[in-house]
């Protein structure tokens, strides 16, 4: 398995607080890597660091052999890495189709080509009804789908999904898992952050667990879910009073 | 050397007034999240109110400044409640142009009511200069500085020690949390805006002894105010105070070494440089 992304001792400090400490791990080409951890563990920060929204205080991020830490997000997107936003960040002043066209414009010079690509991507995620309404009119599920469509339209080789399944019903989650698998099967490597344990266990090839900004476990879903530190971070340590 | 120091001291005197006038602007941005492009016009309003109060009562404008503060305070509260509140959630363009329009209306109303003439309200101490060693200072400027300083101190005490002041600060720091503990944010906005404009008005009263009053005086003060506020950090009250002094000194020194027409040029360049390299200002939030 070849390595597509590697983080080397990446640390990010905001003021006095370390959001991410000394994180080192790799992502293999074609895999689905799950990232778990309680809230505040630094998962979204790691994603932000990878796509270039923040610069690491220390450490390197290497994508396909090339150092990308400190590059502008649009440059990193051009190299093939993009993400969805945990708090959905759609372009609310633009119709649904246009949202995806913006993404498609990265690889398609002419607007007509970008629009065609956008339509294709929207059907891939199942959003091809009235594409002229505003994202604000969409329900939660469809908004998440739109975020994914927009990211997909940029033609990434590495896609970071940040809690796209938040708030979904079990049926909706099954469809979402299916969609993520289809994305992987089309040749895209994925890093996924989710809180729903069942979903992430069934999706991921490997899982990395974080707590308080530091990596605490790494391995197959079974290994990680049985790891004592991981259980502690979610459930808390045993009370030591008498 | 004396020339230099004299210029610096003079700069600090004018800077003190800049500080108080701009503090209101900073306050409003920090709390209401609106840049009040009409702030210079509130200064002008304060000057006219003071002028007419002096005319009617014969009292000293500096003594009248608390009254002037009150008048402008009420007017500012009305403006906030009736106009600005409506655009708090509107696009940025709307917010900017609303206060620009208010400035237009205030200037033209003043022109219609009072004509474009330059008026002045000299007091018995307008021409008195105080001599300290080799330096001389204009007494009205010293008084303006002292009163401005007191106003700043009162503002600080109000914000730090009173419940209302703390409520205002809470709203600026975390609106949702403030609401959850029972603070009415809209009331805080009205208060903050009214205080901010009231201060500008009171500063107008305080500079009356040594300034001319005319409807477009706001235009001369406008950019200086914004420079002070941005340099000090939009939203930072102590920042505005420090920046006011700094800008006053810069302006004063510039007038020593450069021709008068270019006096403000350096200030504007400082403004652009601050925006470019340190938009959060010296003590910004």
């Amino acid at each position: 398995m070849s390595e597509i992304l590697r983080l080397e001792k990446v640390t990010k400090r905001f003021g006095g607080l370390s959001a991410v400490s000394d994180a080192s791990f790799s992502v293999n080409k074609g895999e689905i890597l799950g990232i778990i951890g309680p809230n505040g563990a630094g998962k979204t920060t790691i994603f932000s660091l990878i796509v270039g929204l923040h610069k690491p205080s220390e450490g390197r991020i290497v994508f396909n052999g090339r150092e990308i830490q400190g590059l502008a997000p649009h440059t990193i997107a051009k190299l093939g890495v993009t993400k969805t936003f945990q708090t959905i960040s759609l372009f609310n002043d633009m119709p649904i189709l246009d949202n995806v066209v913006v993404g498609a414009l990265l690889r398609h010079r002419k607007t007509e080509d970008a629009i065609a690509e956008a339509r294709k991507t929207l059907s891939k995620v199942g959003l091809d009804s009235d594409t002229t309404c505003s994202p604000a009119d969409l329900g939660l599920v469809d908004r998440a789908r739109l975020e994914v469509a927009r990211a997909l339209a940029t033609g990434p080789t590495l896609l970071l999904l940040d809690e796209v399944m938040a708030g979904l019903t079990p049926t909706e989650m099954k469809d979402a898992i299916e969609m993520v698998r289809n994305i992987r099967n089309s040749g895209i490597t994925l890093m996924v952050v989710e809180h729903n344990m069942k979903a992430i266990m069934s999706l991921s090839d490997r899982i990395i667990a974080f707590d308080h900004g530091a990596k605490i476990a790494e391995g197959s879903p079974e290994e990680v879910s049985n790891h004592p530190d991981v259980i502690d971070s979610y459930l808390g340590a045993e009370c030591e009073s008498a | 050397m004396t020339n230099l120091l004299q210029a610096i001291f003079n700069g600090m005197l004018t800077g003190g007034v800049y500080a108080v006038v701009s503090v209101g602007l900073s306050l409003v941005f920090g709390i209401v999240d609106v840049v009040n492009f009409a702030q210079p016009e509130f200064l002008m309003m304060g000057m006219f109110v003071a002028y007419f109060m002096v005319l009617m009562s014969g009292l000293d404008p500096i003594l009248l400044s608390p009254l002037v503060f009150l008048v402008v305070f009420v007017f500012g509260a009305i403006v906030q409640k009736v106009l600005i509140e409506r655009v708090l959630n509107a696009p940025l363009v709307a917010q900017i142009f609303l206060t620009v329009a208010v400035a237009m209306v205030m200037t033209s109303a003043a022109q219609l009511l009072f004509g474009a003439d330059f008026r002045s309200s000299p007091t018995f101490y307008t021409t008195i200069a105080v001599h300290v060693g080799p330096f001389q200072f204009s007494l009205p400027q010293i008084l303006a500085f002292v009163v401005s300083g007191s106003m700043a101190a009162i503002l600080w005490a109000f914000m730090e020690w009173t419940d209302v002041g703390r409520a205002i600060r809470a709203t600026a720091q975390n609106r949702t949390a403030a609401v959850l503990v029972g603070v009415n944010p809209y009331r805080m906005y009205v208060l903050a805006f009214a205080i901010g404009t009231g201060l500008a008005g009171a500063a107008g009263a305080v500079i009356l002894p040594y300034s001319y009053v005319f409807p477009t005086i706001g235009h001369d003060w406008g950019l200086i105010m914004f420079t002070v506020v941005v340099l000090g950090g939009l939203g930072s009250v102590p920042g505005a105070l420090v920046a006011g002094l700094v800008i006053g000194v810069i302006q004063s020194l510039t007038s020593v070494y450069l021709p008068t027409q270019l006096q403000n040029l350096v200030v504007f360049i400082v403004f652009l440089l601050t925006l470019a390299y340190r938009p959060a200002g010296l003590l910004g939030r």
């Binding site: 993400k83 759609l90 372009f91 970008a114 | 655009v87 900017i96 208010v102 219609l112 403004f271 652009l272």
Partner: protein, 342 residues
């Protein structure tokens, strides 16, 4: 009904009507008459608004300092004409060039800024230019202003007897301006600008080079504005720093035209200019002398009313009305279909 309004033959009729309307003034008004004197000004402000719209409306970067580019353009062509005799047409291109370069200069301190900070920066920039042009009297004649030497009626030197020539020139420049705005809005840059004004971060993450997009918008906007500056100088034959670099005389007015007509629309600036400029002229005629401030008062009051009612302008409001009707029609059509299936 909406579908019918948008159909091909009706579109042709709309365009024909518009062309007729625009070509009418020089045909029906007196060449040196009042109406033909202010018509080029209407077109000019429509053009200035259209140019401003490229960054103010499409990218939501509210500039309150466009007078900087306008004045720079006016002085560039005028000084060139005065000192070297170069035709103002060439001067117009130089004016655009100078304005474009200036926009690059101002981009450095202001581009990382958002919202209010950006607006404040643009104000400062225009003020700096105004002060500089006032100061260097030797070249610019300072506050006294510069007269464009009138050498006679000649297209070559961009001077005409009467106003028809100026009107047609303004019309041509307006078509150019609106064409550029149209191409920006419908093209790649338009999508990118709309995206970054909606969410700067998200736009970056999906590959939009926001700095470059804003830069291009700024360059296009300023070049056009500079060209209009030349037009103004040639039309009025007189420029001075307080007017052409003025905050109230130009920067605010330019933006106001767009806000009134419709922010981010193509035709908005024309609608805004058609309303605002005649109103301005009328109030200046009616309220003279001591009452001159009344026109400003009316302006300010209008602006306040407009912002409270419809901050995005008339055309935006109109498009919302049309959109709602369209949605209603779709809904009614689909319920009719359901009913007929029962």
């Amino acid at each position: 009904m909406y579908a019918r309004l948008n159909s091909h033959p009706f579109k042709i009729v709309r365009w024909a009507l518009l062309a007729l309307l625009l070509i009418l003034p020089p045909l029906i008004f007196e060449n040196r008459g009042y109406y033909l004197r202010i018509s080029p000004l209407v077109l000019m402000f429509a053009g200035l608004g259209g140019a401003w719209n490229i960054i103010g409306g499409f990218a939501n970067q509210v500039s309150l300092g466009h007078a900087a580019f306008f004045g720079a353009g006016a002085y560039t062509s005028t000084l060139l004409f005065k000192f070297t005799g170069i035709s103002p047409w060439v001067g117009m291109m130089a004016a655009g060039g100078v304005a474009g370069i200036l926009s690059l200069v101002i981009a450095v301190p202001t581009f990382r800024l958002r919202g209010h900070y950006f607006a404040l920066g643009t104000i400062a920039f225009a003020e700096i230019l105004r002060v500089l042009f006032l100061y260097f009297k030797g070249i610019t004649e300072g506050p006294v202003g510069l007269c464009v030497p009138f050498v006679g009626h000649s297209i070559w030197v961009f001077q005409f007897h009467g106003n028809v020539g100026y009107y047609l020139t303004a019309l041509a420049l307006l078509c150019l301006t609106f064409f550029v705005a149209y191409r920006v809005k419908m093209g790649r840059l338009g999508y990118q600008l709309r995206a970054l004004s909606s969410s700067h971060e998200a736009a970056e993450v999906v590959g939009v080079d926001t700095y470059r997009a804003k830069l291009w918008a700024s360059i296009l906007s300023s070049v056009l504005t500079g060209a209009w500056g030349t037009f103004y100088a040639q039309y009025l034959c007189f420029i001075d720093p307080d007017t052409v670099f003025g905050f109230w005389t130009f920067s605010v007015k330019i933006a106001m035209v767009v806000i009134l007509g419709g922010l981010g629309t193509i035709w908005g600036p024309l609608v805004g200019a058609l309303i605002l400029i005649p109103l301005d002229e009328w109030t200046n005629v009616v309220f003279t002398g001591n009452l001159a401030a009344v026109s400003r008062l009316i302006y300010g009051g209008l602006l306040i009313g407009l912002i409270l009612w419809q901050p995005r302008g008339l055309l935006y409001w109109l498009s919302q009305v049309v959109e709602r009707r369209r949605q209603n029609e779709i809904r009614m059509a689909s319920t009719k279909m359901e009913a007929s299936h029962e």
